[in-house]
Amino acid sequence: MREDEIRDALRGERADAFAPGFADRTLSRWHAARTAPLPLSAALTRPFRVLAPLAAAAAIVFAALSVRHRDAASGQTLSDALLGARRTSVQPSQQRAVTLDDIYGLGSLKPGAE
């Protein structure tokens, strides 16, 4: 394959200028691009790119702190600590059934009622 043959073929194909009014078309496109509102996806993407790494870093720090201060004595597992969940227990003497009346009944409106 000779290079001059390629050159010859491509020279006949290419144009030395765009259609008349190219600068005007480019300028009007530039204006349109400047005045067009930012697409929602772009508007959301920019803050996401900034905030996502910060949020991920904060989550890792909080998880590490939670694991470090894990309360193993109360039976808190590692996964509970990672999620920041605490294990609570209710003494059997404090246990009682909760009824709908306790929650929605008129008694719940009394001052001091739970």
């Binding site: 394959m1 491509l10 194909e13 030395d16 600068a23």
Partner: protein, 187 residues
């Protein structure tokens, strides 16, 4: 009218355009339109796609102006952008023709050939060469256009494409082999 003195250098125009001077931007477009047209139409053929790619190249240049540090000439920087835009267009064409073929259609040839030219234009061999070049993928076609048609030195082509010189040489060799194979099949 641009209102720009003819002697204003590219650097001056870039400086003004970067600060939103529309006249300076227009002057840059008018000054470099022909060079961009030659590269873009060699890559994409003449037609709407080429015009669109040319506009896109200048729009991208304008967006990049605040970051333009003047390490290279405006013309070089613009050519690099134009080649990238053309590669994007060629990639889209390739995907589109892939989908058309997948659904049993007849994909259009990826280059628009003007059949209204003179006798040279209708020469069968040249048309075959053009069709073969049109069938090359974007990275090989870019090397063929910049290195062979525009006769740029290998170092400059490497700079424009952002690849090492060795890669330019190997792409050129591969492109020539592909073209030879396609034309062999044709003949």
């Amino acid at each position: 009218m641009t209102g720009m003195p003819l002697a204003a250098s590219d650097r001056e125009l870039v400086e003004r355009a970067a600060h939103g001077d529309e006249g300076a931007f227009r002057a840059i477009v008018e000054r470099h339109e022909r060079a961009v047209a030659r590269t873009v139409t060699a890559m994409l053929g003449t037609g709407d796609d080429a015009d669109d790619a040319g506009q896109e190249a200048f729009i991208r240049l304008f967006r990049a102006l605040p970051n333009f540090r003047g390490e290279s000439e405006v013309a070089t920087y613009l050519t690099r952008i134009a080649v990238n835009v053309c590669c994007d267009v060629l990639e889209r064409r390739r995907k589109r023709s892939g989908w058309i073929r997948l659904f049993g259609g007849d994909a259009d040839p990826p280059i628009e050939v003007d059949d209204t030219g003179d006798a040279v234009e209708t020469d069968e061999r040249k048309r075959a060469v053009r069709r073969a070049i049109a069938a090359l993928d974007a990275k090989h076609r870019a090397v063929v256009v910049l290195r062979i048609l525009e006769e740029r030195p290998t170092r400059e082509v490497a700079e424009l494409l952002g690849v090492p010189e060795g890669t330019v040489m190997s792409r050129l060799k591969r492109a020539l082999e592909k073209l030879a194979a396609m034309l062999e099949k044709h003949s």
